[in-house]
Symmetry: C2
Subunit: 407 residues, 2 copies
């Protein structure tokens, strides 16, 4: 459908501002004249827009660059590394993480604190979240880094229209307005806060790392105690109509399978999640609540590397169930690539073969176009990076809006 309303003057400046900033980000070192040639905008328009972007420290001059075939040289432009950063926060099941991401996508100050968020009430977890954000803001101020917005990743279903958390089964949370609970208690008021699903943010981070040659269409499947997925289609995250897409952990893979915390039976999470793998592998013998997660993951990988039969069988079974679920996803949505994320990335050497066998067998299009399987190299930091990057992307998509908000 064609948008029936034409662009007004104000909308046009917003659009052109974003166009110029995007051009600088894509081609660091580009001159004003080259931006004009590339975008078709008038040189005077480009100059005026660049001046505003420089004043807001979104763009910086990089010194003189040679102009081929001419005697004179012109000033190059690049995204400002001292410009607004996004602050990412991840409320994990058993940790709180923060990091900063600058305009170029570089990550700074990644910090992870262990925190058993399953056993504490939401109000206490959100209190700790506020403290973690305020600490990160203080560190940023001390280093002279401006923060332009905050992105919060949660392991649950977040309604995109309202930012409301509807349910986070592995935290035991329901119906929480995290923006309201956190936004009003920060040391700096007025910062935009956005809340999203951790797997969606992780998928966006995976995309952000490889703008040119990486996969543009994939499903990232992130395996921990819960299993989440993020769909990326044509280079864009696909959050679903209401923001609830990617609940791969609750795909039914065995209707006669074990009961799930969600109330259904035979969900993927129960058959291929870390709880199941660790138990089948004999790594968790006793109360799973008492385990230190990182240590058990190291133990599992040791057992696998040693060729322990129980560990190998446990991961092989998880790979098969994962393959059944991902075959359904690919048959339905048609994304040609799977990215293994979270703990699945560490298990990839053992997961890959049983997973590939199920995909080969069950994906209709695999007959002429095998599904590509890759592993994330971001590991557990993908979601918090993606959350920080999302708040930077909001600025890049609408620099005029940022300028107005920043005064």
């Amino acid at each position: 459908m064609t948008d029936p309303s034409p662009a007004g003057q104000h909308t046009l400046r917003r659009h052109n501002s974003a166009l110029v900033l995007r051009t600088v980000l894509d081609t660091p070192g580009i001159s004003r004249a080259a931006i004009a040639a590339h975008t078709g905008l008038a040189k005077a328009t480009v100059s005026s827009l660049v001046d505003r972007l420089i004043a807001a420290d979104l763009v910086a001059e990089t010194g003189l660059v040679a102009r081929p075939g001419r005697g004179r040289r012109s000033t190059g432009l690049a995204p400002s590394v001292t410009g607004p950063h996004g602050l990412g926060v991840e409320i994990g099941v058993d940790y709180l993480a923060t990091c900063l991401v600058d305009l170029t996508g570089q990550v700074h100050d990644h910090r992870v604190r262990a925190a058993d968020n399953r056993t504490r009430p939401p109000s206490r977890v959100l209190g700790a979240t506020v403290r973690a954000i305020n600490t990160a803001l203080r560190h940023a101020t001390a280093k002279g880094v401006p923060v332009g917005g905050i992105g919060i990743a949660v392991p649950g279903l977040v309604e995109s229209s309202t930012g409301r958390l509807r349910v986070a089964p592995n935290l035991g949370w329901r119906e929480l307005d995290i923006v309201a609970a956190v936004g009003g208690r920060l040391d700096r008021s007025g910062l935009p806060v956005l809340v999203g699903n951790e797997a969606d943010f992780a998928a966006a981070a995976e995309l952000g790392r490889s703008p040119s040659d990486g996969p543009r269409d994939f499903v990232l499947v992130s395996g921990e105690i819960g299993i989440g997925a993020g769909l990326v289609v044509d280079g864009r995250p696909f959050p679903g109509v209401r923001g609830f897409s990617g609940e791969i952990g609750h795909l039914t893979v065995d209707p006669a399978g074990p009961e799930c915390t969600c109330g259904a039976r035979g969900c993927l999470e129960r058959l291929a999640g870390l709880d199941r793998i660790m138990r089948e592998a004999g790594v968790w013998q006793a109360d799973p609540q008492a385990r230190p997660p990182a240590a058990t993951m190291d133990t599992l990988i040791e057992h696998l590397a040693d060729g322990d039969a129980a560990a190998l069988a446990a991961v092989r079974a998880a790979g098969r169930w994962l393959g059944i679920a991902l075959s359904s996803v690919i048959n339905m949505v048609d994304v040609p690539c799977v990215v293994l994320g979270g703990s699945y990335a560490s298990l990839a050497p053992w997961l890959r073969a049983p997973l590939a066998a199920e995909l080969d067998r069950r994906v209709i299009s695999a007959a002429w176009s095998p599904v590509r399987i890759t592993s994330s190299t971001l590991g557990a930091s993908a979601a918090v990076r993606g959350a920080a990057a999302a708040s930077v992307q909001s600025i890049i998509a609408d620099p005029d809006g940022y300028l107005t908000a920043a005064g």
Copy 2:
């Protein structure tokens, strides 16, 4: 991402041409002045674009309409009912169908011929397809109706970048270039021919019927011998990265279930397709190849209406399996509405309760937002209508391209 290239003059005229035509389609009877006010385009530009659209018989003048508050009256504009029509063709498993769709979406000349396309070689089926198209073109010419393009629906996976049919399991076809096989043998050369998946076209037809108040986000699931699905997200068909989306018939719903023609095990099609329902209901006792499909469907519905225990149990089981598959789709993609199409529409009174029970139980977001279930009223004609409408939509999306091609 912002498109880094600005609109050139030629692109701009194409864009504005489409904008004006879309405005006339959305508001039949609108005047040139009102189009200018609505779009923000200059009156002279609108007049010149409208003149071109009238010359191509895409738009027609409808006589004088009153202008509130003024003495003068202006000429109204509407889509031309004698303008270019789309010719739709559906190659079904056991029929060939054709129809015409005009610029307003009205269907004309819907014809269905029984044809056992499963038992004949592809070359003979495509020969019959060419004859059906040529017959429809002759009828159109006799009635003075111009045909602007052809859309062909097939029950298989069609690669969107090439229009190539990769596989149609229920026809036993593989690797066919239908555009080449059909396009060169038509009585009229140069007509654009597009080929697509029948469920994708059916979903588009479902959308087209209710532009304002109908669902904009849904999964249409069309049950016959095979089971296909079409996803519509934010009012647009979602064909997947390569055009292979919607293969819901091959979602694994029971890993220990029966073998499928696709080579896998426990596919939905084997457990909820008409073959299974008819056998479980005792309607097909003998060789299913010998059955007349319409008659057996009538028989099944009689049995259901009579409260026959085997028929009721067969449809209830199919509804449960369908609910398991659709729960996976909704958990993964987040579309809040299911449209039952094809034979499932006729079975809806008996399918709905077991289907709804599984959705309630398995869809995470159903806890606060129950999945809506509706039935298609287009029945078996949805795909052929959608195919015809798709070729009309190509003209509407780019009237300048049509003008150029038409000379």
